[in-house]
Amino acid sequence: MKPNSQQQKAICAPLGPVAIIAGPGTGKTKTLVERICYLQKNGAQPKSILALTFTKKAAEEMSERLKNRGANGLRVATFHSLCFDLLKEKQGAIPQFISEPERLVLLKNLPKPSALSGVSRRELSLLVSRAKNLAKESPEIRRLTDAYNAKLAEQNLCDFDDLLLQTHNLLKADAAWQNKIRQRFAHILVDEFQDTNLLQYQLLHLLNGSNSLFVIGDPQQSIYGFRGASGDIFGKFAQDFKQATQITLDINYRSCSNIVTIANSIYPQLPKLTAHNQEPGKAVITEVLNEFSEAAWVIKRIQQAIGGSDLLNAISDDSTSQHRSLRDFAVLYRSRSAARVLHKSFAESGIPMQIIGDGSPYDEPNVQTIVQLLAKIADESRQISINNMSHQQTFTFSKQFDPSTRPFNLAEQLISAFGFEPDDNLSQLLSVLVQFTSVKEATAYFDKIATNSFYDPRAEAVTLLTIHAAKGLEFPHVILIGAENGILPSKRGDIEEERRLFYVAVTRAKQQLDILHAQKRNGQPAELSSFAAAIDPYNLPHQIDASLTKDKLRAKKRQIKRAQTTLF
């Protein structure tokens, strides 16, 4: 499709600082790609162009799109991969990275002031990372960060934040080097600019020599405050580059018109998006009994839409949605803790699904222990880390086993030595081990799935994910669960960031949007999210999940029981 007039303006904006505000579904990546093509057409050397993204996946996707447009040879990088390469070029080598589990152990073992006593390890890890990315943190966190950095240096290790930090410091300290790099990248473009944190922003300043700086993003989709993203980075940019060209893209090509209307009503004071697709979609708020009926509702909804996945519930007449496939659905939630019951119900249903952000079953602690020890038995020089066991202990322990035993039998011995209760994950591990004759072979297999994504890319599945993980994605049918005060908005979050999260969730949907809220959650009365309640019911009607009121629930159970006793 040809760029629309707004996109065209952005693509051909004069050289110099440019800020593009691009709402959801307005063709942000396309505009960025076309801008690069435009620069090249007008004489920019491919090597002089640097395009920055925030995730590896986004970088890969952009490279792919550029290649399809015939733009090759330029640098598409994440902030981290760019800094990694720059540091390597400057210093010849990069210290070893600390693994996430090791990092958590290190943080746990550092002495902490009482002010930080109740804070979980994961949260500490996040706070330290924020501090290293120049976000304002408390003096306690600052001191903890210093102690943590000292420990890292002692072991000659670094973390991912150090990549940025060291590059930043070196560029600042070494003017000649900075000049060299500045000359290399005459044109810098940044995707998802709203996610930039202060450290990254300062890096941009250090890299920027020619002022050909093109940033694009959506301030309403800035949802990484908890990681240190600076909420008002577009404002800062406007202040620092007063001569910058500003263009807004507001034609949404993703969602049906009523879904765009709903998105607009979340920010009544801001300029509106215009829907390109005038077809009306379906958007409904449904009230369910509790978290269990919420999960049941979601599963039933999806089964209906694909016409049943089982002989027991083959559905003969939902012919309207016969064309939906599993990958058309996403179930979104504010936090993983709000999705516990959902995850469990999906696992029991057998419906193909992928939980984004979840590791493989091999990350489960007991399975991980067996897998790691097998690796240690295969190769005693291998460094492994098992909770409550020192390196020396794992070494001595693994020595008791004969490496020439079949891996299946070894695993059985290990499971009984640890006294692990047999469960599904362990029997699945055993099931997979039967095929291997040597423990080396088995270890090679586990190494392979640890480095590649566990899920086979051919798998079609319903996607279950947090709103954070859904950013940048779109699905024909989005189901948002837990739209309740205390969850979305969450109790502790910044209310404006929570509103942006709701906005991101709504704008993922192309044709169908279901928003669920429960009367009770975890046994406590719950109340519809103020964000959802504020939307005109004319655009977002409310309904009650009638089929799951208590009496009907009981009748349903009886019915299922009867169906299961008439075997075929």
């Binding site: 996945s309 002989l311 003969s316 990958r327 193909p352 029997s427 099931s431 039967v434 051919r458």
Partner: protein, 430 residues
């Protein structure tokens, strides 16, 4: 030696199955029924696979037998008349796929057969990365069936991939709702690796012969049993050496080793005719056409059954006999015949069960009684009525009421209760 083979069954770890679908139950009922080669079913389920490793041991190449200590205990509970029957297991699993191809959502079931636990393990490690193997013994994978076939070929070069109950509307390769019109449409360049298809309860070989696209594949039958009592409802007869390669060789080549299939009368299957269960309406394909495919009661589309669908894909007339035709034997499960003779509705009634076990103790396993024991011998064993019923069954002289939209059809020996009581009276005069 002739073996009765049933490759498609389910364990107690599949949905809606009997708790007695364990190795002991399968062994016990396998002997009563007279089946020789039983698929294990469900090998993708980690718990069932563990049970298989625990209770089975290698026998002839590619086949497994129940460990002696377990087998001896079960043999004690079986009538001596079936003691010497041989039972072997072969690893199999049915897998459901859901995927989009050519703008249509496809839902297919297929049976995988492999000769070793090593290969089971290799397949499981590939499939666990695609879907949840723990929720159901028949897992649902969001995977193109062609890719599933590719995975089988990569993990088990001598493995077999058999499209299951190919005509059922929702889950069959040729199903009217979410299937394909040809093997090639589904499997493309891998189609030559499809050597056999399963008829399912609602179709018989004669119906399949009408479809030219099936000329190159072997027609086999299995029970799809969800309880051990249903083992061998349908089965395949193979005269081969007792090892995996020879038995599978019969299936891949369709040569003389493959003797034929044992079938339900296809009308008994639950998707034979068209209709609407909810509206109590059964129609023939002609009646469906007259209704324009729409239910006159509820105005929704009628569920198109197997007979109709065969007609749509067939290029040959009803009654056409394939050059590769094998022997076809129609049976009614013995317990169903006994229930009819007793005039009771349920096969699980106590009287029927007592009759069943008494008769087996005198005459041997069920398949022998249904297929080969001369009717005079049955009569002389004090079962003149049964002898007459089996005679009628063997000659196809039965009363058929077709199944539709998930409702099983009924096959009766007598037209009605009047004929039944008349016959009984006549018998008692003899």
């Amino acid at each position: 030696m002739q073996h009765i083979v049933d490759l498609h069954i389910h364990s107690h770890l599949s949905r809606a199955t009997s708790k007695s679908c364990n190795i002991e139950g399968l062994y016990y009922w396998g002997k009563l029924k007279g089946i020789h080669i039983i698929g294990t079913g469900d090998f993708t389920h980690p718990t069932w696979f563990a049970e298989l490793r625990d209770k089975l041991e290698p026998a002839e190449p590619g086949l497994f037998k129940v460990k002696k200590s377990i087998a001896n205990e079960i043999d004690k509970t079986l009538p001596p008349s079936v003691h010497d029957s041989l039972i072997r297991f072969v690893p199999t699993s049915e897998i459901a796929t859901i995927y989009k191809k050519g703008d249509k959502v496809r839902k297919l079931h297929q049976v995988l057969v492999v000769p070793s636990f090593t290969e089971v393990s290799a397949i499981n490690s590939r499939l666990e990365r695609i879907g949840n193997l723990k929720a159901d013994g028949r897992p649902i994978l969001g995977l193109d069936s062609k890719e599933l076939l590719r995975i089988l070929l990569e993990c088990a070069p001598t493995g077999q991939y058999i499209p299951a109950h190919i005509w059922t509307p929702w889950f069959g390769l040729f199903g009217s709702k979410s299937g394909f019109d040809s093997i090639e449409e589904a499997y493309e360049e891998l189609s030559p690796h499809i050597h056999a298809i399963e008829t399912g309860l609602s179709s018989d070989p004669a119906m399949n012969w009408r479809v030219k696209g099936l000329d190159g594949v072997t027609i086999i039958s299995n029970s799809d049993a969800h309880s051990p009592q249903k083992l061998g409802r349908e089965a395949t007869v193979i005269a081969a050496e007792l090892n995996y390669d020879d038995i599978i060789g019969a299936i891949t080549t369709n040569d003389n080793r493959l003797r034929g299939t044992i079938e339900f009368f296809p009308e008994e299957g639950k998707y034979h005719a068209d209709g609407h269960r909810a509206c109590n309406l059964r129609c023939t394909p002609e009646q469906t056409a007259a209704h324009g495919g729409i239910c006159p009661t509820c105005a929704k589309p009628l569920v198109v059954g197997v007979l109709n669908r065969v007609g749509a894909l067939a290029s040959r007339p009803d009654g056409y006999v394939s050059k590769a035709a094998k022997n076809v034997e129609y049976i009614i499960p013995l317990a169903e015949i006994l229930a009819e003779l007793r005039g009771v509705a349920s096969t699980s009634s106590k009287a029927v069960q007592t009759d069943y076990h008494d008769i087996l103790a005198r005459l041997g396993d069920e398949f022998s009684i249904l297929r080969t024991v001369p009717t005079e011998v049955i009569r002389e064993a004090g079962q003149p009525l049964l002898a007459m019923a089996i005679k009628r069954m063997r000659s196809g002289n039965v009363v058929r009421e077709a199944g539709y939209d998930g409702v099983f059809g009924t096959i009766k020996v007598f037209k009605n209760s009047q004929e039944r009581s008349q016959t009984i009276n006549q018998m008692s005069l003899l």
